[in-house]
Subunit: 237 residues, 2 copies
Amino acid sequence: MSDRVVPPGARRRRRPTKQGVVLSEELIVRTALRLVSEHGADALTVRRLGVALGADPSSLYRYFRNADDLLLAVADELIGRGLRDWRPSGHWRADLRDLGLRLHESALAHPQATVLSACRVTGRAHEIRAVEAGLGLLRGAGFPDAEAVRIYHAFVDQALGFAALDAANAALPRSAHEAEERVWNTTYADLPEETHPNIAATVPLLAATMRASAYPTALNMLLAAAEARLSVHTRRG
Amino acid sequence: MSDRVVPPGARRRRRPTKQGVVLSEELIVRTALRLVSEHGADALTVRRLGVALGADPSSLYRYFRNADDLLLAVADELIGRGLRDWRPSGHWRADLRDLGLRLHESALAHPQATVLSACRVTGRAHEIRAVEAGLGLLRGAGFPDAEAVRIYHAFVDQALGFAALDAANAALPRSAHEAEERVWNTTYADLPEETHPNIAATVPLLAATMRASAYPTALNMLLAAAEARLSVHTRRG
DNA sequence: AAGCTTATGACAACACCATTGACCTGTGAA
DNA sequence: TTCACAGGTCAATGGTGTTGTCATAAGCTT
C-alpha cells in the first residue's frame, strides 16, 4: 500500500499515539539515528523503532514507503550534518583534506545508514553543494578542467568508498569484531616465518594498523600526488 | 551448536542428500556465488541456497558455523579468483598496480557478492596469500616495516573500498542507472553559471568521467605518492 | 560379509523480521 | 454539533536464521 504515505507538507491531523507521542517525519528520523548510535547497528528495526517511539510499528508506514525509504531519509540527514559547518580557508589542499575527513567522519557516526546508502547518486541539494565546492577548489588551484574533474572523481569516490568500507566494519556486531581480532592475533600471528616471511616480520604492526581506518593515509597520498601533478601544470602554463 | 562444523580436511563420509547431491564446502560456495550473480544479493539466504543445492537448509550448518561464516568463504573465493594467475615481475610499482586492478576486477565480476563481503577480514587462505604478496612487494622495494604496513593498508582498503562502491553501483537495477544518467544530463546540466560556475563549466566532462570507475586514477595517485616517499627513504638510508 | 559407530542429512520448531488489509477513533473543518 | 477521514492499532502472512532431535548410511573393524 504505497498511498498510505502522506507527503510531508500535507499532514494536518496530529493525533497522538496510545502512549501520548505525536509522530512526525523528523521525530522518526531523529529517533532512528539515536537508536543506531546508542544501541548499535542491529537495533534499527521497524519493530524496535516503534517501541522507542511509543507507537505501533505499522504507524511508520504512514510516514515512509518502506524501511529503505526511511533509511534514505536518515542518510540525507547525515550528509547535511557533515557539510553543516565546513568553510573553505583558501588553501585548496587543506580544504579538500578537511572536506574529505568531514564527509568520512559524519558517515562513520552512523554506519548502518552509510552502508546502505553510500553508493547512490542523489542529485540533491547537499550533494550538489559538495560537487561545486570540490571542483571549485581544484580549478581554483590551477588544474585544467579535464584533470580537475578526474581528480575530483577520484577524491570523492575514494571518500565514499572508504566511508562504505569503514562503516560496514563499524556496523558489524561485536562478535564479528572479536572474531576479527582473533584472526589477527592467532591465524596471522601463527604463520611460520618460512612460508610467510613478510607477515611474520610485521604481525604486531599489522594487527595494530589494521584496527584503524586507512582513510587519512590514503587521502594524504592522493593529495600529495595531486600537488605533484599541479607543479607540472603551473611550470608549463 | 558450534561443534556441528567439521573442519574441511577431516570430512570423510560423503553421504548424498535425498536428491542425490554430494555436498562439499566448495560446492556450497560455488552454488552461493552462482545464486548471487544470477538472482541478486537478496537471493542469498540459507533456505534458497538449500533449494539450489538440493539439500535441507540446516545441512549447511554442518559446513559453516552460520550464514556469516558462509559469506566470508564466498568473499575469500573471490580474492582467490582475482589472484589466480597473478605473477610478480619484479617491479614493485607495476606489480602492486596489477594486483590492485586484478582484485578490483574480480570483485566487480560478482558485484552482489562484493557488496555483501568487501569489508570483511576473512583470515582465509587466499586473503593471507594476498597480504603476504603485497607486504613483500613493499618491503622488497625498500620501505621500512612501519611504512610498508601503512601503505599496504591504504592500498588494500582503497581497492576494497572502490570495489564495494563500484560493485554497489553495478548491482543497481537498470532503472536506477537511467535515473542517474538523467541527474547528470538535466539536474546538473541545468544549473546556472551564476550559482554553480564550476559545475557549469565542466558538465560534459563530469557526465562522461563519472560514468567509469575512478579506481585506476586513484590507484595511480596512491602509487605515485608511495614512490615519492620511497625516494626519501632510500636517499636517507 | 556382518556388525557397529557416528558423521551427516532431515525434520520441526522457535523467535524475529518487514509488510499489509481491516478496523477503530479522535481531530478539526464546516 | 456534526461527521469524514487521517492516522494509530490489531492481527495475520510469509519470509528469515538457527538449533534440538532423530534417522540412516558410510566406512571402519572383525
